[in-house]
Symmetry: C2
Subunit: 376 residues, 2 copies
């Protein structure tokens, strides 16, 4: 039986879902001679770590209790004293994770899994890699840091996986990695990588008003609490940067051209979320309706896409033929078209649900399993 030791950073929706997936896959993984041993879990304040990372693990009963506690809004520290583990507070977390990485990285191995949304984890991850551990990310931030740090982070590229940072569990990174590994040069990627903006654009196509559609998307839970976090395009830009860097581009986030769907005057420094939803959005209705109509007159539809091509990495609105994989996209699915020597006339297309904790955590788990040959 091969053991994969796992330390999970972040126990928001994705982190908790990952723990539940690990537990529900026990018998499946046992059939494959695999066992995943969770040795520690972090939230934004604390690290809960077994006393002896080489010999012990958090058992399933306790992990479920931990998930329940976190769902109910309790911090990890509330679990202190209920088992053979320690809870370390903020200032100790980094040191203790690195201690565990040092101990396990040179012996049985450790997968450090970043399901947080923090930009502060990159140093821990880099050190973990240096110490011989593997790293799996659902968190985009460490991959969209400055290029020098990024290159350090991915230098041992077989030790790092980050499928769920783009299109959730959709096999986007895995597929691009395969294409590149076979020496098939990719010359163009175009994708709709935001379920939220995909939904918004396909609803606009049906003649609805922008303000109406964004409010509906918020009502359906498709948007961030402040929908401007989606409409600004930075989340898509991070995904685009991750893909561009995978293609070998040495660029930084601030070099991307990013089109925001709202102007500065309607930004968070000028008005509250409520004001934006109730008043700001409406001032954009006729502009957006005109754009949609303009596209339609040419037989096109409007999509919010990332385009990586030539020397251009661009995120924003684009008119696309109604009869293309991107043009046909409806609802909140993600879709990506990859053009290469082998997929020149008609692209390699990957499409499906690109958001949701279940799918995202499933992608993280598949990444962990895919690292198994690096474990004893």
């Amino acid at each position: 039986m091969k053991s994969i030791r796992v330390l999970v950073m972040g126990c928001g929706g994705v982190g908790r879902q990952l723990l539940e997936h690990i537990i529900s896959c026990r018998s499946l993984h046992a059939q494959q001679n695999l066992v995943l041993r969770v040795v520690g879990v972090c939230d934004s304040q604390s690290l809960l770590l077994v006393d002896d990372v080489s010999e012990m693990e958090l058992n399933d009963e306790f992990l479920l209790e931990l998930c329940r506690a976190k769902s109910a809004g309790s911090p990890l520290s509330s679990l202190r004293g209920s088992g053979k583990f320690h809870v370390f507070e903020n200032f100790e977390v980094k040191e203790k994770v690195i201690d565990a990485a040092g101990l396990l990285g040179s012996s049985s191995g450790l997968a450090v899994v970043d399901c947080s949304a923090s930009s502060e984890t990159v140093e821990i991850l880099m050190q973990a890699i240096d110490l011989g551990c593997c790293v799996v990310l659902a968190n985009k931030k460490p991959l969209t840091c400055k290029i020098d740090e990024y290159e350090k982070l991915v230098s041992k590229f077989r030790h790092i996986r980050y499928e769920s940072t783009v299109g959730a569990g959709l096999p986007v990174i895995a597929s691009i990695t395969r294409v590149l590994a076979s020496g098939d040069p990719i010359f163009r990627i175009i994708g709709s990588l935001s379920g939220t903006l995909g939904y918004v654009m396909s609803e606009l196509e049906d003649g609805k008003l922008f303000s109406q559609v964004v409010n509906a998307a918020k009502g359906l839970g498709y948007t961030e609490p402040d929908p401007r976090d989606d409409l600004g395009g930075m989340d898509v830009a991070r995904k685009a940067l991750i893909l561009a860097r995978l293609l070998g581009w040495r660029i930084n986030l601030d070099e991307l051209k990013v089109e925001s769907l709202y102007p500065n005057e309607l930004g968070p420094s000028s008005m509250s979320t409520e004001e934006f939803l109730n008043r700001g959005l409406q001032s954009l209705d006729s502009y957006m309706a005109d754009k949609v109509r303009g596209a339609s007159l040419k037989g096109n539809v409007l999509r919010y896409v990332c385009v990586i091509e030539g020397s251009r990495c661009h995120v924003g609105l684009q008119e696309l033929p109604k009869d293309s994989p991107l043009g046909r996209l409806r609802g909140s699915d993600n879709v990506i078209e990859i053009y290469s020597r082998c997929y020149k006339k008609s692209p390699l297309v990957i499409q499906g649900a690109g958001a949701g904790n279940d799918t995202t955590a499933a992608g993280v788990l598949a990444d962990i399993i895919d690292l198994q040959d690096l474990f004893l």
Copy 2:
């Protein structure tokens, strides 16, 4: 620098293309600290093997000469005497491959790559796996043998890859493997996995006659020399079986329901290829036109698909909504829809060129590279 030793069985179009890809990727792989060393090549009659598999390899200049000789129709044996290698004839091939596998399997590792179309390789492959080697297949036959042999072949499932057996280089097997590894149960797969039949069905949709379309497909080089090899559905059935077995189904090829697009009376035992093309096909025109029209009246289109669902693995014609990924398919692209817990309402869709030596060989090469963690 990590060395992956490779022995290529089969030097038809895919095998030769693979050798060329390996050569043209030298600098790419060097950047990743990888070097692929080709120690031997088989055709249907002989094995050309370096004198010392641990220390030697066939150099690029010689491999290109080998590709040229094979393209020109010369057998491998014609190269005898032109370097530090031996050419073994038919009756010795198996023994010599297994000797090499035994030597390398327990030391530096060996990837035995089956690019042949033979059903005779399965024993060599099973022994290679037993001896600690890795196996990569573009050849469907060893994976569609009796279930007991299949299970032996894939028992060390991390040592075997076979992406290019389904949809050529399209990441179909890799994606399904990821979904399954994450504990996301797949309850339905439907796909159009024959470029030839995809082309035929989309042309029929435009009102052309069956006989006309099949003859055109043959003219474009889309079909086998005898198009009945495509129209009979057995090639699609093998792909369906490979996918069903990947899902864990313990079934054999003869348990699949396979619909042939021509009746027995028009089969190879009743008439020659020429007769079939000139006369036989026309007798099917009105039947096929009626089926296409019938589907169209319901807003559907006709597709030749494989369906794996419930307890059914079926290959044949199906009416599908015009407005589904399969219904929208045009030309010779492959497309596959995967339904699971995570991809329930809208499936995970993978689409793109599913045939061609370049793409198929690229898939094989990506598989070899993906095995690198098992090599020293």
